[in-house]
Subunit: 231 residues, 2 copies
DNA sequence: ATATAAAATTGAGATTACTCAACTATTTTG
DNA sequence: CAAAATAGTTGAGTAATCTCAATTTTATAT
């Protein structure tokens, strides 16, 4: 965890983020004064489940996985965070401790904003507050899909869902799949690593996907969506 | 669905609800003007998954189950709502349609508030907005527990979790368990009805619970909590 | 009150997905 | 670069949970 001294870069970032648009210059200055930018190395924790929350993170570069820690051997991965997204929003309103852990999948830049500052801005600037909450809601929406997948579907459908979800983050710039282990993918689907490997291989045999080293290419998106529905 | 004309009662309710404390008299009048009170009979839908959201509900009396609709034969019940709680808060910020269904377990009184009114209040009255958001967050918090239970635990642990959760609503006035079928309980735990019945019977044999008609008495809360942990 | 429908219960068998063990491939470290 | 550690793969056996069918109980309607 290394501090970045280049404040120009940091200031650029917060000005560009759409959620900061409704702030007055004074309010913007308040944010600037209370934030610090941090570089998280691949594998480092941005949040730790159970730890006290004193700040909110805003990711400006990199990829992060969010997960619920289980009994030690198992985690449940529920979200990938990319640049332009917040981590730990609920701490502003209610949480004393983080409900989940977050780990950088690649070197990740984020700035940390004291939650008291955000809290007071939300209360004094209703427009900012409303947009901030909008963001928070969007975060939560995906939980319904996650629960649907985990509760109703079985192995193939769940893994299909996960592949489709992860594929959206698999760009030229950031090849998400190459950053994830088989266990990571299994933890997204709530399956054992072995089952995950077996299904991946079987999907490859059926020409739905192509496994090249760690990267995964989706060859037949339609079929994968069908598997997601019927699973 | 029958309109209640007794507005005095309705006005009493909104004044008493703690979340309406930070409103000015004018703002309160805005709420009064935009709301209508409705009586939902047992079994009626308060919200229907997929339907357009035009209002938020505030329950003043009765018990409601919230659930995600599955493939037709299966639902996943994730929450019980009692008096003093909102339904459909996220629609104020983002949702065009309801993400879940809600059905009255007993005759339920609720008032409906146009979401545009709440939306503008949140933006003009930051304090109200902040408290409103706090409420919304508390609603969402339980999702982490739900996911934990569903993903990590097996039958006994999941059912134990569900019994402990439901038991908190099982008061003298409102005997929740008598309003729930075995399938309802199964849908909370994400189990088949048959498995649920078998575990209930086995818990009764071990003197952890007592089944009297539809009501369920928890005899050994500590043991149930242990089962929840180890399951 | 009786007939009918719905819900609860029970057991047997089938299915799903996991665990374990062995092995191979890849990555990391001295 | 070699050795060790980690990650990925595969198959066989096992455990968990579901499905189905039969039966009993409870609720509803005529």
């Amino acid at each position: 965890m290394k501090l970045i001294t280049d404040t120009d870069f940091a200031i650029d970032c917060d000005i560009q983020a759409p959620c900061f648009q409704h702030l007055t210059p004074d309010e913007m200055e308040l944010i600037r004064g209370s934030k610090t930018q941090v570089l998280f190395r691949k594998g480092e924790n941005l949040t730790k489940q159970g730890a006290f929350t004193s700040y909110v993170l805003f990711v400006t570069d990199g990829l992060v996985k969010q997960f619920i820690e289980g009994d030690g051997t198992r985690n449940f991965n529920f979200k990938i965070i990319k640049e332009g997204e917040f981590i730990g929003l609920s701490s502003v309103f209610t949480d004393k401790t983080f409900q989940y852990s977050s780990v950088a999948l690649s070197d990740t830049r984020a700035f940390l904003i004291e939650k008291e500052v955000l809290s007071s801005l939300i209360q004094t600037n209703g427009m900012f507050g409303f947009n901030f909450m909008k963001r928070f809601c969007n975060h939560q929406e995906s939980f319904f899909n996650t629960i649907q997948s985990v509760v109703y579907k079985q192995m193939n459908g769940r893994l299909a869902d996960v592949l489709l979800y992860l594929n959206d983050f698999n760009t030229e710039k950031n090849k998400l799949f190459t950053l994830l282990s088989r266990k990571d993918i299994a933890d997204f689907a709530g399956l054992s690593t072995e089952s995950t490997v077996k299904i991946l291989k079987s999907l490859e045999k059926d020409c739905v996907i192509k496994l090249e080293e760690k990267n995964i290419l989706i060859l037949n998106q339609d079929l994968l969506q069908k598997i997601s529905k019927n699973g």
